[in-house]
Each structure stands twice: as C-alpha cells, then as structure tokens.
C-alpha cells in the first residue's frame, strides 16, 4: 500500500511539475516576443515615422506616414461595410431566426468563416474584385478586411442579443411596438456594450492582417488616398521591410510592429473596460 501511495504521489508531483513547466513555456514565449518588440520598437521610435513617407530602397531616414494613413483608411472603410452587415445578420439570427434550422446553418457557416485562413479571403477578394477590375486597389483591401470582421461581429451580436431577457421584449411588444422598434430601441440598447466589444475585437483582429493585403491593396511606396489604386498599409510594409537587408528598414519594421501591438492592446483593454463598466452598472 505504501509503495502504491508513494508511486501515486510521485506521479502527481511529476505531472504537476510538467504543467507548471508548460505554463512557464507559454508565458516565456509571450514575454520574449513582447519584450523584443517593445525594446526594438521603442529604440526605433522617431518623429519622422509619423511625418514622412517610407524612404526608397537604400535611402536613409525614417517614415511610415503613408502606411499609417493607408491602414486607417482601409480599416475605416472595412468598418463601414462590415458593421452594418454583421449587426443585421447577427440580429436576424438572435431575433428572427432563433433556433430554426436555417439559423443554425447560418451559425455553422459563420463559425467556419470565423476561423477560415485569411489568405483564402484574400484570394476570394482577388477573384471577385481585383481580377475583374484589372488592378490592385484599396477598396479591394477594405472588402477583404470586412469579410474577415463580419463573422466576429455576427457571432458577438447574436450572443449578446440572446442574453437580453425575454421580459424586456415582451414588455415592448405588449405596448404595441412593432418588431423593429423593439429591436432597435430595446434589445440593441440593452446589448450595446457587448455589441461594441465585438466590433472592437474584430477591429483588433483585422489591424494586423497581412496575407489578404498581398492580393488586394498590395502596397504603395508613396502617399495615396485614392481608393481605386494600391495603397500603403502597415502590415505589408512590415513584411517588406523585415525581409530587406537595409538597417533602417528593419528598424522601421520593429517600430511598425510595436505600434500595431500598442494599438491592439489599447483596443482590448478598452473593450474589457466597456464590458466591466456594464457589469458594474447592472
């Protein structure tokens, strides 16, 4: 008996040690990646990054202005396309579709689109926009990004609306309010913090997307706001600069990566705050 007990204890200690080790490994890589990005990113910080455009190959100097502006334009248009589509589809699922078979099918497809490789979305957008129009364009990049954000918005909208109690809907319906008034004035209002969080998460996800950009918005060495033409964007610039042999380009790649991570962190912290404030209020 004693030997069996000792053996079980030993197994338990060994297994627990391995689990502590696994957690340590995970946190170690997170710390390593964040630390290098912060260290190299901050050391490459320079005002010119925000004031000047990307320098030509071999030229010295710093500048990422065209990439920042391009990324913001791409994300802005993606939001304009993606938010209404995502909110309305999610609303249909929660308010009209319910647990019907067609709603479950849409949810299933949406779940698959949620984790579809982003490179496939890039190829799709290439096939439907870039190829027929004959050239890479900012608008194609925005469409690709919106396709990537829609599944996230659909899912959070669906889930957040389902959390709204039936009593509120019934009270509004009993007052004679038509369905669309019930949804826009009552359930959307009750679920707005969660829905906003979904939009923010989707924005964080698309902000670093690179692969789809290679087939849609491509890149532009110059400052451009023309939606019908290729446009510079931060992820592709990081990709191009990291692969280059030039010292200042590699430094700018780190600066870009650092700013992308800071942007994503700010978004996720603010979405957590929004959710928490809501929880505290309720």
């Amino acid at each position: 008996m004693i030997s069996l007990r000792a053996k079980r204890r030993a197994t338990n200690i060994a297994a627990s040690a391995l689990m502590y080790a696994a957690t340590f490994v995970g946190l170690f890589f997170l710390a390593w990646i964040l630390w290098t990005t912060i260290k190299l990113g901050i050391s490459a910080m320079h005002w010119d990054l925000f004031l000047k455009d990307t320098p030509a190959p071999g030229d010295g100097g710093y500048g990422l202005r065209n990439a920042f502006v391009g990324s913001l334009i791409l994300m802005g248009i993606a939001l304009v396309i993606g938010v209404p589509v995502g909110i309305m589809a999610g609303t249909w699922l929660a308010e009209y579709g319910g647990r019907s078979r067609s709603a479950d099918l849409v949810r299933f497809i949406n779940d698959i689109m949620l984790s579809a490789p982003s490179i496939e979305i890039g190829l799709f957008t290439y096939a439907i926009i870039v190829d027929p129009s004959g050239h890479f364009s900012a608008i194609a990049g925005s469409v690709a990004l919106s396709i990537l954000m829609i599944p996230i918005i659909v899912r959070t909208t669906d889930e957040m609306l389902k959390l709204v109690g039936g009593e509120m809907r019934e009270a509004a319906i009993a007052l004679g309010a038509p369905m669309w008034t019930v949804i826009t004035k009552v359930t959307w209002k009750a679920a707005r913090a969660g829905m906003l969080t979904g939009i923010l998460i989707s924005l964080a996800r698309i902000s670093g997307e690179t692969a789809p950009m290679l087939f849609t918005a491509l890149n532009n060495q110059y400052y451009s706001t023309n939606l019908g033409r290729p446009i510079a964007n931060l992820p592709v610039v990081i990709f191009q600069f990291a692969m280059s042999p030039y010292q200042n380009w590699q430094q700018m790649a780190w600066a870009g990566a650092f700013i992308a991570i800071v942007f994503i962190l700010l978004i996720s912290v603010s979405s957590r705050l929004i959710l928490q404030r809501r929880v505290n209020k309720v």
Binding site: T23, L123, A177, K185, A242, I261, I264
Partner: protein, 334 residues
C-alpha cells in the same frame, strides 16, 4: 432605458384612438424593410463560404484543366519557366509544419489548461488566462518578424547540438541533419506551435472549468490526486471538445501564412531533414503571387489555395461539430 421607454410611449399615443392596429400599421413598411434587410444580410453571411470556394475554384480552372487533379497533387515539379506546376512539396510542407506544431502545442496547451483550471491559486488564474489570450492577439506578422530576426539566430546556435545528439539516433536521426541555418521546417513548426497554443488552451480551459464540480469533488473525496482527476475524470468527460479544440488549432496552423513565410525558408524542393528549408501552400502563394506573370502560373497558385481550403474546411467542420457536441451535452446535463 429612459429614452427608449419614451420612444415606445410616443409611438403608442395614437393607439388611444385606434386601439387594435395603430402602432403596427403606422410603421409596417419600416418593420417590413428592417426584417428583409436582416434576412438579406443573414443570407449574405450564409452563402459566403460557398462563394469563397466557388470563386477560388473558378480562378483555378485553367490550372485544373491543364494539370488535372491527381497529376497536380502528386507532381513535385514547380517550374514557372516551363509552366509545369505540381502541389506535392507544398502539401507535404503544410502537413509536416502543422504536425510539428500540433505535437508541440497540444501537450503544452493541456498543461496550461489544467494549470489554470485545477492547480493555480485563485489570484493567478485570471492573469495567466489573460496572458495566454494575449498570444492570440499578437498579429502573425509580428510572430514572423520575431521568428526571423530574433528566434532563428538563437535557434541556429542550437541546431548543431540537435543534429549531433538527436541526429545520431537511427531511424529518426535523418530528420535532424543539415547545416545550422535557423530557418526551416522545424522553426516554422515551433513558431506555429506558439501561435496555436492560445486557441487550443482557451477551449480546453473553458471545458475543463465547465466540468461539473460534483464529478471532480467526488474523485478528490475518494483520495484522487490532481493528476488522477485531470487524467481520469476531466479528460474523459471533455474529450470530444478537447478534440474539437485540437482540430481548431490544426485549422489555424494549416492556413497560417505570414509567420510561416518568414521562417520556413521558402525552398520549393522537398528535403528529408526538418532542419532544411521548405515551403507550405500559404507560404508559396504569398511569396510568388505578385511575381506570377502568366495566367497559368497565377491559376496554379490559386489552385493550391483551393486545395488548402478543402483541407482546412474538413478540419474546421470537424472542429466546430466536436466543440458544439460538448456544449449540447453540457446543456443536457444541467
């Protein structure tokens, strides 16, 4: 809430004269339009997947017609000048790098998930969970940058040791030989493992936490150790969802593009050693897409994308169905 109640009340005022239909009739067009708009958007979401596959299939048609299906899958030739294309090295590269990632990531994810759900003191759970979730928030381009410029040089210093020790073992030794370059199949697998870790861990942690407390507590009351509870109670109870989480991670690994493109080495030749450079389907598409000059070249790259989407779709459907089956089971158990 105040303003919405007021809005509902305002709309309700004329109903005093016409009690039965007033509110409804006044806004019927808006109500109708809102419903139809919602339906249209849901249909758009519902057909998205089919549209993606159809459009990619359409653009790869020239390559399908030229090389066929079986011929394309088994050919190792990739010669843009002679316009002969085959997918075999890239399919192997995708499967090998993803397999390495899963072999490394699944046990570590299991360890982290058990740590969070069973071992960790209460105050440390939330920070560790949040930290692991942060790994998922880092864009893949940053993983690639870090993998190429930071991890690869460090790993290159370790490779001679690997080929000296593991490379001597008969049988698997051949997998670990070659010049220490730091980039290659194994590096891609390791970076992928770090990237899929948070996805697998998140699912495992959620289902481990959702295991009914009375099951765990019964086992603890019988004198089980933490490991025995994890191995014989929690894992059997959650195995379907755990498998779903593993498939979800696999789907991510198969389709990951940027990080792999940075560190896999981008060689179109197959090599027996994991330390040698290779290529995966996403990496070759990302690398050569803008260089593809002829219609057939471009179409062959998109054909590779079609193969990839078929593989990942199967994996993802399995993942979604497996993860869902547990949710349904858990709802039934309540």
């Amino acid at each position: 809430m105040n303003s919405s109640a007021a809005a509902v009340g305002r709309r309700f005022e004329p109903a005093a004269k016409e009690p039965r239909f007033a509110g409804r009739r006044l806004s019927l067009p808006a109500d109708f339009l809102f419903h139809k708009l919602a339906v249209a958007m849901a249909i758009l979401v519902g057909v998205a997947l089919l549209a993606v596959v159809a459009a990619i299939g359409y653009d790869s048609w020239p390559a399908i017609r030229t090389f066929g299906v079986y011929g394309f899958l088994k050919s190792s030739e990739w010669d843009p000048v002679a316009e002969h294309f085959g997918a075999f090295p890239f399919i192997v590269g995708t499967l090998v790098s993803s397999t390495i990632a899963m072999v490394l990531a699944v046990p570590v994810s299991f360890g982290v998930a058990v740590f969070i759900s069973e071992l960790a003191p209460g105050w440390i759970r939330q920070p560790v969970s949040a930290a692991v979730e942060m790994l998922a928030a880092i864009p893949s381009i940053v993983y690639g940058l870090w993998g190429l410029l930071v991890f690869a040089p460090v790993f290159a210093d370790m490779e001679p040791w690997i080929s000296d020790h593991i490379g001597r073992i008969p049988g698997i030794g051949a997998l670990f030989q070659g010049p220490p370059m730091g980039i290659g199949m194994l590096t891609a697998g390791i970076v992928l493992a770090i990237m899929v870790l948070p996805y697998i861990t998140a699912i495992m942690r959620d289902v481990f936490m959702a295991t009914p407390a009375r099951l765990k507590e019964s086992a603890y009351a019988m004198g089980s150790t933490t490991w025995e509870v994890a191995r014989h109670i929690i894992l059997p109870y959650t195995r379907t969802a755990v498998a779903g989480g593993v498939f979800l991670g696999l789907g991510r690994a198969l389709g990951e593009t940027m990080a792999v493109t940075f560190v896999i080495g981008n060689s179109n030749n197959l090599s027996a050693s994991l330390l040698m450079p290779g290529a995966s389907i996403p990496s070759v598409i990302a690398n050569e897409f803008t260089e593809a000059t002829s219609r057939l070249y471009l179409s062959s790259l998109i054909y590779l994308g079609l193969i990839l989407i078929v593989i990942t779709l199967i994996v993802q459907m399995l993942a979604v169905l497996l993860v869902r089956s547990l949710n349904r089971g858990a709802e039934g158990a309540k």
